[in-house]
């Protein structure tokens, strides 16, 4: 469903080009929940921003649902972001002036307007993710975990092909983190959502079907959960991280 082929991206830092992605290739199947992990500067967020069409890659190809994103114009890319992608950010990115419900409806409003079905669906999402009782409140009045669940509901509003999540648990305590991850699992289970998540958190990643490890702008390793329990998968994940960073797994996770 998502194909990333030989993606390259560099930035100018202090007048010098720094290559952040050095030819990343990966793919996601429909309904898969995949995490990307790696040390700071490994290119995780750049990869996510590339797939999100927020930044243009220097070279390589991203194909989403059979559509090559590099071929699309500005308006078409906006349409892809609105209809085929859903976003969850570390700092929630909710509009402070809108209620929880209105924030969730936002992608539909941008798409052209909300009908009765849209409102029913937003209410369903609120109920499903346990935020029905706060849907009339403003972001400033709710907790971080609730904000992030609101963001997940917003990401699902337009039935996207893919949900892109950038450190969704980065600003949350462990209890809220778990709730948010469970929300993703619920979205995949009940709505068939495909999720691509960048994270530093091995606990959050251990819930995924597969984890892609990035190092210095290239895919260093990929681990599939297979039939492992969550705990066993996390242990395996930590081992792989330790191996990738030369024996000190904690350094990567810090």
């Amino acid at each position: 469903m998502l194909y990333v082929e030989n993606l390259k991206k560099s930035y100018m830092v202090g007048g010098q080009p720094v290559e952040v992605l050095k030819g990343v290739s990966l793919q996601l199947a429909q309904g898969e929940f995949v995490a990307v992990m790696g040390p700071s500067g490994s290119g995780k967020t750049t990869l996510l921003n590339g797939i999100s069409c927020y930044i243009a890659a220097d070279s390589g190809q991203i194909t989403l649902g059979g559509e090559k994103l590099a071929d699309l114009g500005e308006e078409a890319l906006a349409k892809v972001r609105n209809e085929k992608l859903g976003f969850v950010f570390q700092d929630f990115m909710l509009l402070d002036g809108l209620t929880v419900r209105d924030n969730i409806l936002l992608p539909r409003i941008i798409a052209g307007g909300v009908d009765d079905e849209g409102e029913r669906y937003a209410d369903q999402l609120c109920e499903a993710f346990g935020i029905g009782h706060i849907k009339g409140k403003f972001p400033a009045e709710i907790s971080g975990g609730e904000k992030q669940r609101c963001a997940v509901a917003r990401a699902l509003m337009n039935h996207p092909l893919l949900i892109l999540a950038d450190e969704p648990t980065g600003n949350l305590d462990s209890k809220s983190s778990r709730t948010v991850i469970e929300t993703f699992l619920q979205a995949r289970r009940e709505l068939g959502a495909t999720i691509f998540m960048v994270t530093h958190d091995s606990f959050a990643a251990s819930f995924c079907d597969r984890v892609v490890l990035l190092k210095d702008g290239t895919v260093s390793n990929q681990l599939s959960r297979g039939g492992d329990s969550r705990g066993a998968f996390q242990d395996r994940l930590l081992g792989a991280i330790r191996e990738m960073s030369g024996g000190d797994g904690d350094a990567v996770l810090a």
Binding site: N82, M93, G97, R154
Partner: protein, 708 residues
């Protein structure tokens, strides 16, 4: 909420404060510029400001500074506006809103804001100007000349500035939306402004550049004219002031980034220093605008004390109470009539002296101008009858000045003012004196100059020479000078007024001319050009107001009539009325510039506080006391107010002092100028007091906003 329109409306409500800030900033700028231009273009003001004169240039120069300042301020305000909009716009863009949707939304918002702001500013600017002017008339001084008339063309300037504001805001909106990277837009509000490394020598180098720029800018026009014989376009000579502005920028940059107190612990003001540094570009730009506008405000407000003090001092120190002169063919009151009038008015005349003068041609170098591709150049050509001057015999001088001068035959002595200034008195350049009626000539060499305020600009000849050269000179080339003193001069205003009116009423239209009107130059110009620019029928063509007996109380008449009497009590009492338009114009300009300074400093202080709100909250959580937080806030706001105030005030005062130093011949400061500069210091003290009061008000406001 179901549609984009609902969303737009809801977000619009949420962003009202931000909209209001932009609206007020644009409104304020357009209002001040419109008010300024209304007065600047008013026929009331233009009438008294000679075209090409220094006053008009100064008004225009401060206007340009005000336009630059207000333009930079609106640019800054719109930058703040888009910064505040960035998160919302970035989120919508990230969720798939097209640039077209966002453009429509943003353009409509900024279109509405700028149109309302500009229309209101332009509409209310004129009433503001009119109201302030009427207030001056009511509270300070009123005269016939002070009646304000307006020129609709002023609105063209206001319209042009409004257009600039609208176009600039739209261009910034376009640039904001065209940024390709959504992540940058989302993070814009949190982005700090790292400033490049500023070397330690920037501060001193900046001060040096300011001094060099001020000196070069002031001296360059004179250098071009006197040394290169070239009148360069004004824009070209203005370039020489450029180092001043570069230096100013460097000084402010150094102050913001490095600070001047190197010896003190870097931890002492760590928080405010760091915060200022990372809002560097904005901070320095704002300080620059405040500095320049404050300099403009002070420059304008120095006009009144400088002129007033100098005049008051010179009037006080006049050697006689009453002096008047007239062309010998005029039927002007003589001693008997004057004494009778004095008696009628209860005035006692204590001394009387009168002496004849003669108008003779003198030789000199005439500047012959040539229009070329590079502008106007000139060359000096010797002429035997270059201009005319008034001459006294040594006996006449002794009678009037109570002196015992005895000049050698064949010498000429110039009369300087009591400070030894000799504007145009170049005795060393006169070698030949001619009676233009008989053609008789006299070769002369310079003798030591004399000092006398009332006879300033005239020349003295040996009695024998005077008698010989003036032989056969008809009355229209002769004048009488009369000096007399009275008892209790300060109580003789009505007598002075009556005598002044009598003199004006009895003067013929042939002497209804400017003091610069010169029969020798006229004769030559008529022969060569067919007209003389100071003849009454040519004045309008050359942008001069006519000298009109019916407008005898106007500043034009009082300052420039060729035969204007000098009555101490009249001049002292009527000074403010005579100079009312000048004084009020510069007072008005000072008020407008000060208002702009206060608005900009206030806005900047508020945004400094708002930008740091999160940090103050964090510091509070880290255990910072209210006292520490207030100290930190104070330190930042103090810099917004005090750094530009100090730099602007010191720079303009130094510039003014330099102008005064080079403004005379010989170079140096006269006692009048010292007194004027002292009075200007009082203005600086008052202005600084207002600024300090406003700083305290702003500080309280910011404390309240931050809840500390």
């Amino acid at each position: 909420m179901r549609s984009w329109r609902d969303l737009d409306r809801t977000l619009g409500r949420q962003g009202r404060k931000n909209d209001l800030l932009l609206l007020l900033c644009c409104f304020g700028s357009v209002l001040l510029i419109t008010a300024y231009v209304t007065i600047m273009r008013s026929p009331t003001v233009l009438t008294v400001l000679p075209e090409g004169g220094d006053s008009r240039k100064q008004v225009m120069m401060i206007f340009i500074l005000a336009v630059i300042g207000c333009g930079a301020f609106t640019t800054y305000a719109s930058g703040l506006y888009f910064r505040a909009k960035s998160r919302q716009t970035g989120i919508l863009m990230a969720l798939g809103a097209s640039r077209f949707q966002l453009r429509r939304m943003l353009y409509r918002d900024v279109g509405r804001i700028t149109l309302i702001a500009c229309a209101a500013g332009a509409l209310l600017g004129t009433p503001l100007a009119w109201g302030l002017w009427q207030l001056f008339r009511l509270l300070v001084v009123d005269s016939e000349q002070m009646r304000l008339t307006l020129d609709p063309q002023a609105y063209l300037f206001a319209l042009a500035f409004s257009l600039f504001v609208i176009v600039m805001v739209f261009l910034m909106a376009r640039r904001f939306l065209r940024r390709a990277n959504i992540i940058d837009i989302v993070n814009e509000a949190r982005r700090s402004e790292p400033i490049r490394e500023v070397k330690g020598w920037y501060g001193w180098a900046g001060l040096l550049l300011m001094a060099v720029g001020g000196f070069l800018g002031y001296m360059a026009p004179g250098f071009f004219v006197t040394q290169l014989h070239w009148y360069p376009p004004e824009g070209l000579t203005a370039i020489f002031y450029a180092p001043l502005f570069v230096g100013l920028y460097m000084v402010l940059l150094h102050t913001v980034v490095n600070g001047w107190r190197r010896g003190r612990s870097r931890y002492h003001n760590l928080i405010p220093n760091s915060m200022m540094k990372f809002q560097g570009r904005q901070t320095v730009r704002n300080m620059l605008v405040i500095t320049v506008l404050l300099a403009g405000a002070y420059f304008a407000s120095f006009y009144a004390p400088m002129l007033g003090t100098g005049n008051a001092l010179s009037m006080e120190e006049r050697p006689v109470d009453y002096a008047y002169h007239y062309r010998a063919d005029q039927d002007i009151p003589q001693e008997g009539e004057v004494r009778a009038l004095a008696e009628d008015c209860g005035v006692t005349i204590t001394s009387w002296a009168e002496a004849p003068m003669a108008r003779l041609a003198v030789d000199g170098m005439e500047h012959v101008e040539t229009e070329g591709t590079l502008g106007t150049t000139w060359e000096a050509v010797y002429q035997e009858r270059q201009r005319s001057e008034l001459f006294l015999s040594e006996s006449a001088w002794n009678t009037l000045a109570g002196d015992h001068l005895d000049l050698a035959p064949g010498t000429v002595s110039g009369i300087f003012d009591r400070n030894g200034n000799g504007n145009g008195v170049f005795t060393d350049q006169i070698t030949l004196v001619t009676n233009v009626v008989t053609g008789e000539t006299l070769s002369v060499t310079p003798a030591e100059g004399q000092k006398h305020d009332m006879l300033f600009g005239r020349f003295i000849l040996d009695d024998g020479d005077y008698a010989a050269i003036t032989q056969g000179l008809p009355e229209i080339w002769r004048e009488e000078m009369i000096f007399f003193n009275v008892e209790n001069c300060e109580d003789t205003y009505y007598f002075a007024k009556a005598l002044f009116h009598e003199i004006v009423d009895r003067s013929g239209e042939e002497v209804e001319v400017y003091d610069a009107w010169d029969p020798v130059v006229r004769q030559r110009d008529l022969e060569e050009e067919g007209y003389y620019f100071l003849d009454p029928d040519q004045l309008e063509r050359f942008g001069f107001t006519t000298i009109d007996y019916d407008q005898r109380d106007s500043s034009e008449f009082r300052n420039y009539w060729a035969y204007m009497p000098q009555f101490r009590v009249l001049d002292q009492n009527d000074f403010i009325r005579t100079m009312a338009v000048f004084l009020m114009l510069f007072l008005f300009i000072a008020i407008i510039c000060f208002a702009a300074v206060l608005v900009i400093a206030y806005t900047r202080s508020l945004t400094v506080a708002l930008t740091g709100r999160q940090m103050y909250e964090d510091l509070g959580r880290l255990g910072a006391s209210k006292r520490y937080l207030r100290k930190t806030v104070r330190s930042q706001i103090r810099r917004v107010f005090f750094t530009p105030s100090l730099v602007g005030t010191a720079a303009i005062y130094a510039l003014y002092a330099m102008i005064m130093y080079f403004n005379g011949d010989p170079l140096g400061w006269t006692p009048d100028e010292f007194a004027g500069m002292g009075a200007c210091l009082l203005v600086v003290a008052a202005g600084s007091g207002v600024l300090y009061g406003f700083y305290r008000f702003t500080r309280r406001k910011v404390y309240a906003m931050l809840g500390i």
